[in-house]
């Protein structure tokens, strides 16, 4: 509520400067509060985003480099359907058991895998690469028909010693569309959106 000054108002010319000064101070205060709020929001938002990007932990520290590099295996030796299927599939005990029905090394991780195989329990792998629910992505279309290497979209997974905890290549719509454009494939929405 504004209280009118008891005294009759002084001529404006004499009061002008002082009023301007004081009011600019008030304005500055408002700006400061707003800035603080914005900063707080940014910090909180950043924290949430950072938390969301934390790498996923895999149940077993799978060493891709060992399998692909030293043992000279192909991606499709384990990811069985990457060429012929719509979904590449993450190998589970049925596949692992082919080699790991008993431990071939002293590795603690392998021991755990063998335990899984022995108990028949499935390894709860975490899926790293995923397309949004509204996207239709077919591996066979890209690998077999399109002749695209796994690394194009998945990055150098085969060189990773540590388990993959976050996508090496960020799969965004832009990523897909750029590749489609470069290789002369239609970018019609319906090709991917379902």
């Amino acid at each position: 509520m504004t209280n009118r000054d008891a005294s009759p108002p002084a001529p404006p010319a004499t009061r002008r400067a002082g009023v301007a000064l004081r009011s600019s101070g008030a304005a500055a205060k408002g700006v400061l509060v707003a800035a603080a709020l914005v900063a707080l929001a940014l910090v909180l938002g950043g924290a949430v985003l950072w938390a969301a990007r934390r790498p996923l932990e895999q149940p077993i520290a799978f060493n891709h480099a060992l399998h692909v590099g030293q043992l000279e295996m192909d991606c499709t030796d384990c990811h069985l359907y990457a060429v012929n299927g719509v979904r590449a599939t993450i190998p589970n005990i049925e596949v692992c058991a082919d080699c790991h029905d008993e431990a071939a090394s002293e590795s603690a991780e392998e021991t755990r895998l063998v335990e899984y195989v022995a108990s028949g329990e499935r390894v709860p792998w975490r899926k790293i690469y995923r397309v949004p629910e509204h996207v239709y992505f077919s591996h066979r279309r890209h690998t077999q028909l399109g002749g695209i290497e796994c690394e194009t979209c998945h990055g150098a997974v085969g060189e990773q010693v540590e388990p993959v905890g976050r996508p090496l290549v960020r799969l965004s719509m832009e990523h897909c569309m750029r590749c489609h454009q470069d290789s002369g494939v239609s970018n019609d929405c319906l090709l991917c959106h379902r």
């Binding site: 002008r16 009011s23 008030a26 408002g30």
Partner: protein, 451 residues
């Protein structure tokens, strides 16, 4: 210009700013609560989905779109009328332009928010800018409404600067607000010249924008193939309707504020007389358009068109349709055509019915066409839900609240323009009148011959 003089003459206009009372507090509380309720309802709608409304499969648009068109229509009261009056140098405009402009800004903000209310995914509203499709009439609308909002805000603000400076100079609180908004106004001749020019530019600019806004809103409907919508006269029809409802709203606002703030000294019989005559003309014009619209539909006798026609004229929407005709034509014409009834209460009644009638007109346009699909689906029906009514009430409350707050912080009547009118206009108008008047017979040929 010297500020001291205002102290004496128009000090009463500042009373509401300098001494706000219980009335203000009660009004803001009541209105604020209503608006808050509307927001609560809106958040419920966001959480649960648009299912909380009464919309359904054939009738996919309802109150939100009706109110959108209605509020945007009301917004034509202000800026457009004020600009036309300013442009035509109608001297009686001086006490009413400010109020008209405030109506525009407040109502436009409310109206422009309605499409967002209507969105199934309001959080994606920005897709309009990131992925907008300029071919869509909805996007034309977004552009013209935002242009109109910008223009009318500026058009409201610029002529307010000298008045704000007065408030600043009187030390009214919050001082930072006035000193910020006064923008360093000292009333120097140069500042006055710039102000004058800015007002002139804005008023010329605002008129086409305002016309475009409602034309484009009508295009939202007219660009589809729906019976009852696909009409060529929709553009002008909507503009006429908008100005019609706008004047009515302005009259109502004037009458109410005159009463509350004791503005009898400023808003005189003549203002109401002139504006109500304008309203009468618009009522006739509106009837002409409506008549043309429905007559062509009836004569064409296209089955789909006729289904909608009968739905309105004798079907479920007959009460609304005939209510619209009564409210928009019969009542205002009967009241305003006779001097005996053209009193301020009479004008108030006429304006109120026009506002209601124009709302009914929007309802009559939006719902019946959707309720009578071509596809063979059964006739749809639409019953607005509590949420929709709540949002409607919230919209109206926001409008009043906007006015209350404006009146609390700014003068409702342009102090300096009144002052300017007192100081300059009498002489200026007399001089101007001289130029209109036919010259005496002898002098005429001489005048023409001397370029």
């Amino acid at each position: 210009m010297s500020a001291d003089k205002h102290e004496f003459v128009d000090g009463d206009l500042l009373r509401s700013i300098e001494q706000s009372g219980v009335g203000f507090r009660v009004a803001t509380t009541v209105l604020g609560l209503t608006v808050l309720t509307a927001w609560v309802l809106f958040s419920r709608q966001i959480l649960e989905g648009l299912g909380v409304t009464g919309l359904n499969q054939p009738v996919a648009w309802g109150f939100y779109i009706v109110n959108f068109v209605f509020f945007i229509g009301i917004s034509h009261a202000g800026t457009l009328i004020s600009a036309i009056l300013r442009l035509s140098q109608a001297e009686w405009r001086r006490p009413i332009t400010r109020m008209a402009e405030v109506i525009t800004v407040v109502v436009l903000a409310i109206g422009a928010f309605h499409p967002v209310l209507d969105l199934g995914r309001p959080e994606r509203a920005l897709n309009i800018f990131t992925a907008g499709r300029l071919q869509s009439p909805l996007l034309w609308d977004v552009s013209s409404i935002s242009a109109y909002f910008m223009a009318s805000t500026v058009y409201l603000y610029i002529p307010m600067i000298p008045d704000i400076a007065i408030l600043r100079d009187r030390g009214v609180r919050p001082r930072w607000l006035y000193s910020f908004l006064a923008w360093g106004w000292q009333g120097t001749p140069r500042q006055q010249a710039v102000l004058g020019r800015a007002v002139n530019i804005m008023m010329v600019l605002v008129i086409p924008i305002a016309v475009s806004v409602h034309t484009v809103i009508s295009y939202i409907f007219a660009m589809t193939l729906q019976p009852g919508w696909h009409s060529t006269i929709f553009g002008p029809y909507f503009v006429v309707g908008a100005i019609f409802s706008g004047i009515a709203a302005l009259l109502m606002v004037m009458i109410v504020l005159r009463r509350i703030f004791r503005l009898e000294r400023y808003l005189k019989q003549i203002h109401f007389d002139y504006l109500s005559r304008l309203l009468l003309i618009m009522a006739l014009l509106w009837f002409y358009f409506t008549f043309s619209e429905y007559l062509t539909a009836f004569f064409g006798h296209e089955p789909a068109e006729m289904r909608v026609f009968y739905y309105k004229v004798s079907g479920p929407y007959a009460p609304f349709f005939w209510g619209m005709v009564v409210c928009n034509f019969l009542v205002p014409v009967l009241i305003l055509a006779f001097r005996r009834t053209r009193t301020i209460p009479g004008i108030f009644v006429a304006s109120l019915t026009v506002v209601v009638g124009m709302w009914l007109e929007r309802l009559n346009i939006v719902v019946p066409s959707l309720a009578n699909p071509r596809s063979g689906l059964p006739t749809g029906y639409y019953l607005p839900s509590v949420v929709e009514w709540g949002m409607f009430a919230g919209g109206i409350a926001t409008f009043i609240l906007g006015f209350v707050l404006f009146a609390r912080f700014f003068p409702l009547i342009s102090l300096w323009e009144i002052q300017e009118g007192r100081e300059l206009s009498v002489a200026e108008t007399a001089a101007r009148l001289e130029t209109y008047l036919p010259d005496p017979p002898a002098a005429a040929p001489a005048e023409e011959a001397s370029p």
